[in-house]
């Protein structure tokens, strides 16, 4: 199978999975933005001032891609029991990589409007330069990849679990990895426990974005370590998925 067909199919699958929502379910786009905005609302109400809002907006950007990313892989398994698109695609001349990447790309496309919204606010507040934009986009892409591969990994290992368990798990993970660790707030608030933010991909990415925006002082070594951890985590999730995942059932 040629690489151009693999790439074309990836975007086609992503389009198939996202276009109907863009066109006929615009409320979904608002919902994604609203979910990401909930912590911001509380921050506005009860914030202690300072940079709280910009920390919250960075969290909302990370949340926009991470929440839908982790849900994509898990919900693909549960939805597919009814819609069976995957079953039909397995029997087509489509590469499994195109399918997985397309499924993961679809929520990224859906979260673009809310990313633009939150990014626009960050830019309006003067924290987004061309250089910080490039690092921010890179961090967001990697955290999307990490969360998507985590979703696929979980769905692969829990392939036979009930739809209820899978859906609850994807929601729990979304909340657990986005709203609890220092994604919306600065990891400096954790004091001695701030290392936790490096381990969790969402807070790691948020910390990196903050450092490029001058909100979190990180040494060059720490920055390199954090990027490495983020990439290694993504690769590890990917490897664990590849070990277990089977395009054809045995």
């Amino acid at each position: 199978m040629g690489i151009s067909k693999v790439v074309k199919d990836t975007f086609l699958i992503a389009w198939i999975k996202s276009y109907p929502d863009f066109r006929r379910n615009p409320l979904m786009l608002v919902l994604i933005a609203m979910i990401s905005s909930i912590p911001l609302f509380f921050m506005l109400m009860f914030s202690g001032g300072g940079n709280t809002i910009i920390h919250g907006l960075i969290g909302a950007m990370v949340s926009s891609v991470a929440f839908t990313g982790v849900m994509a892989g898990i919900q693909d398994i549960s939805w597919d029991r009814y819609v069976k698109i995957r079953e039909m695609i397995v029997a087509m001349p489509v590469h499994p990589g195109s399918y997985a990447l397309g499924i993961a790309l679809a929520p990224l496309l859906i979260s673009i409007p809310s990313l633009i919204f939150f990014g626009g606010l960050v830019a309006f507040m003067g924290f987004l330069t061309v250089e910080t934009l490039a690092w921010t986009v890179l961090a967001l892409i990697i955290v999307w990849a990490a969360m998507s591969t985590m979703g696929f990994m979980i769905s692969t290992y829990l392939f036979k679990s009930s739809m209820m368990i899978l859906n609850n798990l994807s929601n729990l993970l979304g909340i657990g990895l986005i709203f609890i660790p220092p994604v919306y707030y600065s990891e400096a608030q954790l004091g001695g426990l701030s290392w936790i933010s490096i381990v969790i991909p969402t807070s790691n990415a948020a910390g990196l974005i903050r450092s490029y925006m001058g909100l979190l002082p990180l040494s060059m070594e720490t920055t390199i370590i954090r990027w490495s951890v983020l990439i290694i985590t993504t690769v590890a999730f990917m490897a664990m998925t590849f070990i277990k995942a089977r395009w054809r059932e045995t």
């Binding site: 389009w15 069976k84 039909m88 397995v90 029997a91 087509m92």
Partner: protein, 305 residues
């Protein structure tokens, strides 16, 4: 020599688990090109397993299956270029339209946009959905939704179409619409492999069929050949308790009896006897269902005396 459209050689599938299940027991089936071949069998007979192996979704435990001469085990990529599949009990994306189903699936098969548009239009017209092409699936009836998914395989231009119980849950009119579309495709040279547990469907649409039970092929041939496998050629359905059983085979269905006889004269005798007993009776040729029940379950499973 041209290879068969579909061929399986000693195809076996064992599902491991707490209870090991042998879903297919060395199944050998040959389907010619341009033929509509049906796998007919009760639930759990192994029909879907067979279809999933042929369509490269599932590996067999042993044996092999071929599509147009390509092995479904070792040449899956080649097989996939020539097939299109509609799985069992498939639902639709509610916010998809029939047009999107037909068009995007054609694009995924590698068709360029103009060709995909043309094929999608042909497919939707074939399943009588052209007028509803831009309606969201959530507003369609069950039959229309099913036809939308069938359109997604019709637009594929694949040589071999595989449909797993394509009409289950459809009303009679919708079912006939699907049958008509399938027969038109066969006329245009496509090969169709479908599974069903509906006797009427198997009899109406199939060029040939195989009766599958517990992973075994118990009969294979044209519908009339299959019906010729039993000695009894006629059936008399009697309303009421028919006493004169004598040498005839009788299946009891509650307060009704089906008497199986070998000749037309015997059928007339049974009709006369029932009329004498003031019982309403009707004679006809044996159906595929009669033969199926005899071959698969035996009449004892269905109230035979």
């Amino acid at each position: 020599m041209e290879a068969d459209a579909v061929k399986s050689t000693d195809l076996r599938k064992i599902y491991d688990g707490i209870d090991e299940i042998e879903a297919l027991k060395a199944v050998n089936i040959e389907v010619g090109r341009g033929e509509l071949f049906t796998l007919l069998g009760p639930n759990g007979a192994g029909k879907t397993t067979f279809l999933r192996i042929i369509s490269t979704q599932l590996f067999p435990t042993s044996g092999d299956a071929f599509v147009l001469g390509y092995s479904a085990v070792s040449e899956a990529e080649e097989v996939r270029k020539h097939i299109a599949v509609v799985p069992q009990d498939v639902a639709t994306y509610n916010n998809f339209t029939p047009w999107e189903y037909a068009y995007y699936f054609a694009r995924l098969r590698g068709m360029a946009s103009p060709a995909a548009r043309q094929k999608a239009e042909e497919a939707l017209k074939a399943v009588d959905l052209w007028d509803l092409k831009n309606r969201m699936c959530q507003t369609l009836s069950g039959g229309e939704k099913r036809r939308a998914t069938i359109a997604s395989v019709l637009s594929s231009d694949a040589d071999v179409l595989m449909l797993d119980e394509p009409t289950s849950g459809l009303d009679a009119v919708a079912r006939r619409g699907v049958w008509s579309a399938l027969r038109d495709l066969v006329k245009s040279g496509k090969t169709i492999l479908l599974t069903t547990h509906m006797m009427e469907e198997a009899e109406m649409v199939s060029d040939r069929l195989a009766i599958v039970n517990k992973g075994d092929v118990v009969a294979c041939g044209r519908p009339d050949e299959i019906k010729g496998l039993v000695r009894e050629k006629f059936r008399v359905v009697i309303n009421g308790d028919f006493k004169q059983l004598s040498s005839f085979e009788v299946a009891k269905l509650g307060d009704r009896s089906i008497v199986y006889v070998k000749t037309q004269d015997e059928a007339i005798d049974v009709l006369k006897d029932s009329l004498k007993m003031n019982l309403r009776a009707e004679a006809s040729a044996v159906t595929l269902e009669d033969v199926f029940v005899k071959l698969v379950g035996g009449l004892n499973n269905h109230g035979n005396q």
